[in-house]
Amino acid sequence: MNQLRWMLYKDLLIEWRGRARVAALSTFAVTLLLLFSFAVGPDTDALRTHAPAYLWLSVLTASTLLLTHGFKLEVESGAMEGLLLLPVSPRAIFYGKAIANMVLLLAVGVVALLVTLVLFDVTPRENPIWLLLILVLGTAGVSAPGTLYAGLTARLHAAQMVLPVLLFPLVVPCMVAAVRATSLVLGGDAMGQLDSWLWVLGCFDAIYWSLCGVLFGKVIG
């Protein structure tokens, strides 16, 4: 636990020092949102309906850059090896990185969400506080398997290409649930389905946060 706290502190401190990176990433996500609207055309109704999909797709795309970057720092400097030999438990490394990735992705997600609301002129019909919960659960769902796969591909030259190939099919359930839940909050939840989608997200997170933590030790050993 102590090690986990230090790892998390370290990752967040480094990202805080390099906060321009997170800013760049948020800009990237916002650019994607703009591109989606250009691609669909000036049909405001269609844009409004599909806003949740654009939001999550841009967050997911931005996540791959974030994930590969985090491990590149560790592997290139030899810091990861130093940590393992210290010894720091692989679980502490994993959960520290995964939580840090989630926090950063959440920051990107919040920016993207605000831009989505303005850009596509959407007003949430349900309590907007749900949006925050969905963002937390959704980014958690991307960051756990994302951190595992980023660790798996960190030493490869083609890391940035392989990571999405492995990660995107995996997070299909997470994306489905997050997009559905978001559109229910934005468009109104007449049938009371929001709970079940949040539940799906929660289960997804629980499965991958535990499974990936166990497997990560094998990956970097």
Binding site: G78, A79, L85, P87, G221
Partner: protein
């Protein structure tokens, strides 16, 4: 418990189709100051990494304080420190923060000022990114000292340092040893290193060629390179 810090029998490690280290039989007694010399690619780094459990051997038996490093046991890793070519420092953090992190992760009492003073880096609050190569090396030494290892494995202790740094590092290594640690270094600076160590091993193209008292290393080194295997 045998009084050997490292015991190797017929140890070999290969990368693909090439043996980086082979036929190594070696005993490094606990508390000794051991020197590995050899040209580039002679297997020095490979041996240090095997002993540090950073890599796995492909053949033979290896024991560090009686334990097999291949098992990557935490209680062994906690006693062994490796200073490798890659400094393993976080570029965005300052020297102080890097050491704080180390102390926090290893649950040690953070005596940062003392560690920084030992490598003469007290007055550098800027991130490691701005450090010169020699300063990084010093900081890496501070990390090594902070770990208080029973076995210190040091790859090129003099690399990237200035003459002042040479003396500093010699002092640090002797301090480590006076504290009871076993020190194993690998170096190209044959003359200098052989004055520090007790015993030595000369490696040539992955195989051991000569083993004996460190003061005879310069002669052995010359002999190895005059007489091809």
């Amino acid at each position: 418990m045998p009084a050997a810090a490292i015991e190797a029998r017929d140890v070999g490690r290969r990368y693909g189709r090439r043996w980086a280290l082979a036929r190594l039989d070696l005993i490094v007694p606990e508390g000794s100051f051991f020197l590995l010399v050899g040209a580039n690619g002679s297997g020095k780094t490979t041996f240090l990494r095997l002993a540090a459990s950073a890599e796995q051997r492909n053949r033979g038996e290896l024991a560090v304080f009686g334990q097999d490093p291949a098992r990557r046991a935490e209680n062994l890793r906690a006693h062994v420190a490796l200073l490798s070519h890659k400094a393993g420092l976080y570029e965005d953090l300052s020297a102080r923060e890097n050491l704080e992190l180390l102390a926090g992760l290893a649950s040690m009492e953070p005596r940062i000022a003392e560690w920084l003073a030992a490598v003469q880096l007290e007055d550098r609050p800027d991130p490691v990114r701005c450090f010169s190569a020699g300063m990084r090396k010093r900081l890496a030494f501070a990390r090594l000292i902070a770990q208080r290892p029973r076995l210190a494995l040091i790859d090129e202790p003099y690399g990237q340092l200035d003459p002042v740094g040479f003396d500093l590092v010699d002092g640090l290594m002797h301090t480590l040893r006076d504290q009871g640690a076993t020190v194993v270094i690998a170096s190209h600076l044959v003359e200098r290193a052989s004055r520090q160590a007790d015993t030595a091993l000369v490696l040539h193209q992955g195989t051991p060629r000569w083993q004996g008292p460190a003061r005879k290393v310069p002669a052995a080194w010359a002999a190895v390179h005059r007489v091809p295997a």
